[in-house]
């Protein structure tokens, strides 16, 4: 008998168990109307990000001084061709929002990937090795938590220079500590479990322990955390853009649209309102799905 058969139940049962668990998770997810609402919103946002150049009614950069400050079509003086109105230089707001979805989603997903890789690695080693590795990692976590994350990100973007890559890097590297803490806590709890003990007893090496026994068991927490972190990253990117250190290009982003709209809030309420609603809906949808995912993946909940 080799290590694996001892450390785990018979393969057949595992497969059946997994399939059952998967369909249980699926049923729990779908049963809730809010998941469907969230999912649909996400689908729309994702669709408009991918298809922005095709579905946007106008060129998001096209200016026209005659058309500036056109209100949304239902308001007095509105124009159906510019459904959500135009901004201070006559650009179509709807088209800019559709294009802005690209930046938000791209930054959200990429920044979280960076955080995930850094945080999960550090958390795994911290929990598994313990000792001074653990002390060092946890001290670094404490230090990062002492800064308002946004300020730190802002300062680093300022010295590194604005740009899509730098934003992703900075948000990723200032947002990993939650992964490290969650994964470390899980590993500490898992280390005491019988199956880990069994694996160790039959001589599984440290790498095998980490990759086959510890990491897979933290997956559901990581998935849930990542979903919610994407929402956070989108909010952070919008905040950076709002404060003036965004992607540094002319490509529209939601945060930058709100920042510009703030200056014209007394004359054109639609300028900051609609991009903000786009952020709100996107983040809300991700939070709804993430929250349901947590409930569905939590084995303790019935």
């Amino acid at each position: 008998m080799d290590a694996q058969t001892l450390a785990q139940p018979a393969p057949a049962t595992v497969e059946v168990g997994r399939a059952a668990a998967r369909s249980r998770v699926y049923r729990k997810l779908v049963r809730h109307p809010m998941t469907i609402v969230g999912g649909l919103i996400l689908l729309v946002v994702f669709g408009s990000a991918v298809l922005a150049p095709l579905v946007a009614p106008h060129d998001p950069a096209k200016q026209s001084l005659i058309r500036r400050f056109t209100p949304p079509y239902w308001a007095k003086g509105g124009d159906v061709r510019f459904a959500l109105g135009t901004d201070q230089v006559g650009r179509d707001i709807l088209s800019r929002i559709l294009h802005g979805a690209r930046i938000s989603l791209l930054v959200g997903v990429c920044a979280v990937t960076v955080s995930l890789v850094v945080g999960v690695t550090l958390g795994l080693f911290s929990g598994f090795l313990g000792g001074w590795v653990d002390t060092v990692v946890m001290t670094v976590v404490d230090v990062t938590l002492s800064f308002p994350q946004l300020l730190l990100a802002l300062a680093f973007v300022a010295v590194l220079g604005p740009g899509l890559g730098n934003i992703i890097l900075v948000l990723g590297l200032t947002g990993w500590e939650r992964y490290a803490r969650v994964v470390r806590a899980e590993v500490l709890a898992l280390r005491e479990k019988d199956f880990v003990e069994a694996a160790r007893a039959v001589g599984a090496g440290p790498l095998r322990m980490l990759s086959r026994h510890l990491l897979p068991n933290t997956f559901s927490s990581i998935i849930v955390l990542s979903t919610l972190q994407v929402a956070q990253a989108i909010l952070q990117e919008a905040a950076l853009s709002f404060l003036g250190l965004g992607t540094g290009s002319a490509y529209p982003t939601w945060g930058q649209m709100i920042a510009l709209g703030r200056d014209f809030v007394t004359v054109a309420w639609w300028l900051p309102t609609f991009p903000g609603l786009a952020i709100l809906l996107t983040v809300l949808a991700i939070n709804l799905v993430g929250d349901r995912l947590r409930d569905a993946l939590d084995p303790r909940a019935t």
């Binding site: 938590l145 308002p148 300020l151 300022a158 919008a238 905040a239 709100i258 900051p272 309102t273």
Partner: protein, 304 residues
């Protein structure tokens, strides 16, 4: 208890060194700070400034000097205001702290009763509303909330001033904005920790002894549910200050946050370093106090 205090104190010291390292790193990461400060100056002038500011010394030496200086509160003079950076930050600290405390107070005032109610009457209509509000609140970008409030209360209905900080009526919108940023999180925690505690044996015992429901909730349940609330408030204090930074920018509140944001955009490094360092120190202090409070409130730790 004493050893615990001592251990915590050592930890705080280590974290402080880490905080200075990162604050110091902000400037180092720029590669050549002098080039950022005076992009158009001739190389000879740059070299002179580099030498004068000690940028040619080994990094380790520079760091030790930075730590020594920051302990004495020496962050150098602001390039922009030509005044000591620390003074600039300290002048504006009361404003930021007022805003933060007001917002936190508002958030606590709303979220504790609402959280208790929705835990006690779980699945009631109000509980459902609370859940929706929490979701909405957590998904709103704080600067947008601020602008929308401004749009309604200052532009549309003209009840409150648009921006500035010259009297109590100026504080309402910023405090409410920052409060709505913090409240959903608190509400969520109050609700979930109350739900957890209300299901425990000792609450059932109290009820079965005939203690009135009101007293069970306040005396027995709330006291125990308060622990996670305090911890999370402490842990999230950095996030709250981050929210304050944005709120100050939206409403043109003359606080530390707005100062730092401006300094960052102007590459006024002494002010950035002094501000970031001081805000981090506040977070460290709050966390330390919360840690000690936690140990004091929780008998399981106190005994050890």
């Amino acid at each position: 208890m004493t050893t615990l205090l001592l251990r915590r104190a050592i930890r705080v010291l280590v974290v402080c060194v880490g905080v200075s390292l990162i604050t110091f790193g902000i400037l180092q990461l720029s590669g050549d700070p002098v080039a950022l400060m005076m992009p158009e100056a001739p190389e000879a002038d740059r070299a002179k400034l580099r030498e004068a500011m000690g940028f040619n010394d080994p990094v380790a030496l520079q760091f030790v000097r930075f730590v020594g200086n920051s302990i004495r509160g020496e962050f150098g003079k602001s390039f922009y205001y030509r005044a000591p950076a620390l003074d600039l930050v300290l002048e504006r600290m009361p404003t930021t702290l007022t805003l933060t405390v007001l917002a936190l107070g508002l958030a606590v005032l709303v979220s504790i009763p609402a959280g208790i109610y929705s835990a006690v009457y779980r699945y009631s209509l109000l509980d459902q509303i609370v859940t929706v509000v929490v979701f909405l609140g957590q998904s709103m970008p704080v600067f947008w909330t601020g602008i929308m409030l401004m749009l309604l209360f200052a532009v549309q209905w003209r009840l409150l001033p648009v921006s500035g900080w010259e009297g109590w009526q100026f504080m309402i919108l910023p405090a409410v904005t920052l409060g709505t940023f913090q409240a959903p999180l608190l509400l969520r925690i109050v609700r979930s920790s109350m739900l957890e505690v209300l299901g425990l044996d000792y609450v059932r015992t109290a009820r079965s002894k005939g203690v009135s429901e009101w007293i069970v909730i306040c005396r027995h349940a709330l006291v125990n549910a308060a622990l996670p609330v305090v911890t999370v408030t402490g842990l999230q204090f950095g996030i709250l200050l981050g929210g304050a930074v944005i709120t100050e920018t939206v409403f043109a509140v003359p606080g530390v946050g707005r100062l730092i944001v401006r300094a960052i955009l102007q590459l006024d490094f002494p002010v950035v370093q002094a501000g970031v360092f001081l805000l981090a120190m506040i977070v460290v202090t709050v966390n330390f106090v919360v840690d000690v409070l936690y140990a004091y409130l929780n008998p399981q730790i106190r005994v050890r």
